[in-house]
Symmetry: C2
């Protein structure tokens, strides 16, 4: 067994909070994606920042890899211990530490999930808007710079993390940011750790910005004859500056899967799912402006979901679309692409993807946060068919190439992990080497989530 000395020292510190059971290792070797099982040597369940610092001091001494784990819902293998070592599961550090209602911020531990946070906030009139679909842990959401359906209105994790407590690779504990709404006090270390996928330090506490629950919420769904009509509606909505809270697209293939999975009966056409937040009058005004654009583009079957339970059903359907699509072909796995392009290029990017997938015979329903220029193709393949898998991977790479040519990015929200490391040089050029240099400075032994995000060492 590798890393025996480290594991023995960790067991002394953690006792029962260090697990080496087969089921635990197995559980923490998997991800929601298509990557193969990667068993860690142990799973640690720290209960405090001090314990996390002790773990890192021991692992640094023994050069044992350390990979952070929230809920394991990342999509690019970010929480998989690809070089073994210890997975640090933050599920025992899941408390709300302090709610500052007047300042609309909250201090939480990294293992708290976004749904649990919103449950705690229910009585305050405040909420935390970032919603990647999965009920992810907030530490993991910060580490992957998560976004999701509400980023259009509220922004991503980048816009919601005011400050962090981070344990560095050598066990030092630092705090970044403040509770003030802005600061010009030196380098923005908070922004450096957000999106670093646990390669620069382990987040042990987060201060997050909250929002007032909107006075009025209204959601709607409408169908279009052609994808282009739906996408043009999106582009014009954004360009008119209508402050949409959510604006999601699902294509006909996704609708078919959702209908089958959730016993619904939407017409098998491209759809937009939208939501408006604001005062009663603002929501009414936004809905009217949007409705006019929908009509211009031949949208049909406009259905409102003003009741909370109808809205919940609508977004539950959207969040489960991924599982619905997978369920349509039992046993298949998928590559979930998430390119993001400037909004003016969105129609072109979606159309080129559809044409490309058709030309190469790849099965890939399309859906996504089109209001941000961010869309997903769920590229399905039979895991026992290497050729089909390679076709899917090649299609994903061509999507990235097109997105970069259009001034976009390989990943709007899922991050790099294992799956997108191969695109980093293309997207960043020499700046990727700069990322590697920063990594080497903060983690000179390379123990933090090795094999991810930055260029291979040496």
């Amino acid at each position: 067994m590798a890393h025996n000395a480290a594991l023995s020292a960790l067991a002394d510190v953690l006792g029962d909070a260090l697990s080496r059971s087969k089921s635990d290792l197995d559980l923490h070797g998997r991800s929601e994606s298509h990557f193969p099982l990667t068993l860690p040597d142990a799973v640690a369940y720290p209960a405090s920042t001090d314990q996390v610092a002790a773990i890192l001091r021991i692992c640094a001494e023994h050069r044992c890899p350390v990979t952070a784990w929230g809920t394991g819902t990342s999509l690019e293998g970010q929480s998989q211990a690809v070089e073994g070592g210890v997975v640090v599961d933050f599920s025992a550090m899941n408390q709300v530490l302090e709610i500052n209602q007047a300042d609309m911020d909250v201090r939480v531990q990294p293992g708290l999930t976004r749904e649990a946070l919103n449950q705690e906030l229910r009585a305050t009139g405040l909420f935390f808007p970032v919603d990647p679909g999965a009920n992810a842990a907030l530490g993991g959401m910060a580490s992957t710079r998560a976004s999701g359906t509400t980023a259009l209105r509220y922004g991503t994790m980048r816009d919601h993390v005011l400050g962090l407590e981070v344990v560095l690779a050598d066990g030092r504990v630092i705090r970044t940011g403040t509770r003030a709404r802005k600061s010009a006090a030196g380098y923005d270390l908070t922004a450096l750790f957000v999106g670093a996928e646990g390669t620069l330090g382990l987040i042990t506490e987060l201060t997050l910005r909250l929002h007032g629950q909107p006075e009025a919420i209204s959601a709607a769904v409408c169908a279009f004859a052609r994808i282009d009509d739906a996408v043009q509606t999106v582009i014009e909505t954004i360009q008119m500056g209508i402050p949409m809270a959510r604006m999601e697209f699902i294509d006909a293939a996704s609708v078919r899967a959702v209908n089958a999975y959730a016993q619904m009966a939407l017409p098998e056409l491209p759809h937009l799912l939208v939501e408006f937040h604001g005062s009663d009058s603002a929501v009414a005004e936004q809905a009217e402006s949007f409705g006019a654009l929908v009509a211009d583009h031949g949208g049909m079957g406009f259905e409102w979901a003003a009741r909370a339970e109808d809205r919940a059903a609508l977004w539950h359907m959207r969040h489960n679309a991924y599982y619905a699509i997978l369920a349509a072909r039992p046993g298949c796995r998928s590559i979930v692409t998430d390119v993001c392009v400037p909004i003016s290029r969105l129609a072109e990017a979606v159309e080129a993807t559809i044409a490309d997938l058709a030309a190469h015979g790849v099965n890939g329903p399309i859906l996504g946060h089109v209001g941000d220029g961010n869309f997903h193709a769920i590229l399905m393949f039979d895991p026992s068919d290497a050729d089909e898998r390679d076709q899917a991977l090649a299609a994903a790479a061509r999507m990235v190439d097109r997105a970069l040519e259009m001034g976009g990015t390989a990943t709007g929200e899922h991050g790099i992990g294992i799956g997108k490391r191969g695109y980093m040089q293309r997207e960043h050029g020499e700046a990727w080497q700069v990322m590697g240099a920063l990594k080497a400075t903060l983690d000179p032994l390379g123990i933090l989530n090795p094999g991810k995000l930055v260029p291979p060492a040496g």
Copy 2:
């Protein structure tokens, strides 16, 4: 003369674009603040990224300090060459390179000023909102993470820089960010260079986010009997979520100075200056909600400035308040503090400042962007009176101590430079050492704006 070899090599590359004239050195040795003259050895006026890269290669070879200069309007001596060497003045790189109207972004050179950009955007229906008062260069605004009166609604430079071209200390040129609205592709290098004050690299190009010109704008000014009434109005406005575009406070002493400077006749009382942006109906709704809060707190003399020229006069007055205050005492200099605190602590922070200044006999009118929790005391002193200067410095330090105790920051918007370096350890603790380590990685020879922001080397 120091750095002769470097200057001779630079003259070969730059020709007339390297100046060693006394007037040029003198002009670039000054700042808007109270810091003493610091003459550089030369001033370079590059015309291209290639020339900037050549300057850095030469300066790295000869270990010659390099300090970037936009318009010299920073307030903490950021653009002063405190260790001599070359000041790189970006005024010859001042072009708009590309306006993407549909995507609401623009690519510019760093020497372009914010007013010149807005002039160029006039016909597009778009505008760039960040407004620190001075007509600063956009490269400098990014480097100091500038904000100002509109940050409340639109955010700071942190929220507006989508991507950068940066020349590193060794002359390598990198690009950060994309034109997509969000990205999870690795470390947020854009955020690292924004606010780095030219200590990590020189910005040679910026991609900036723009906004649609609001359909309606309305501004107003109102007076309060007591500071506390004004500040409570601010706190309740923020907590109600009224989306104010600007919300500025000026105290009675500032009003007195402004009246004298600009021949105005505002009552000598604390005032709020506010602005609303949105659709006609949204602006009307916001104004009504705000008006009700003003009335609750005994606000009086509510005057609307709906015409563009009246609004321009109002904000011109606000932007000139600093000069008006200085003019009230000819020959004096000032320390302009800019602490920022959580909004719930704002009243306490302002009151404690007033009491402290009174107790120590320091003359310091107060004004600022109170909607962000950010306020300025203009601490005046006679530069020939060392004792008065020390009193002002001590008062500034106590303001910082109180802001940090309240969970705030030493600087909401002016940055560190020379003036606030002494507060960094207190605000950041061990994280300041991490900033130093990042600096040493990207600028191992310490040639970029030495003597600023990070801990002294070695």
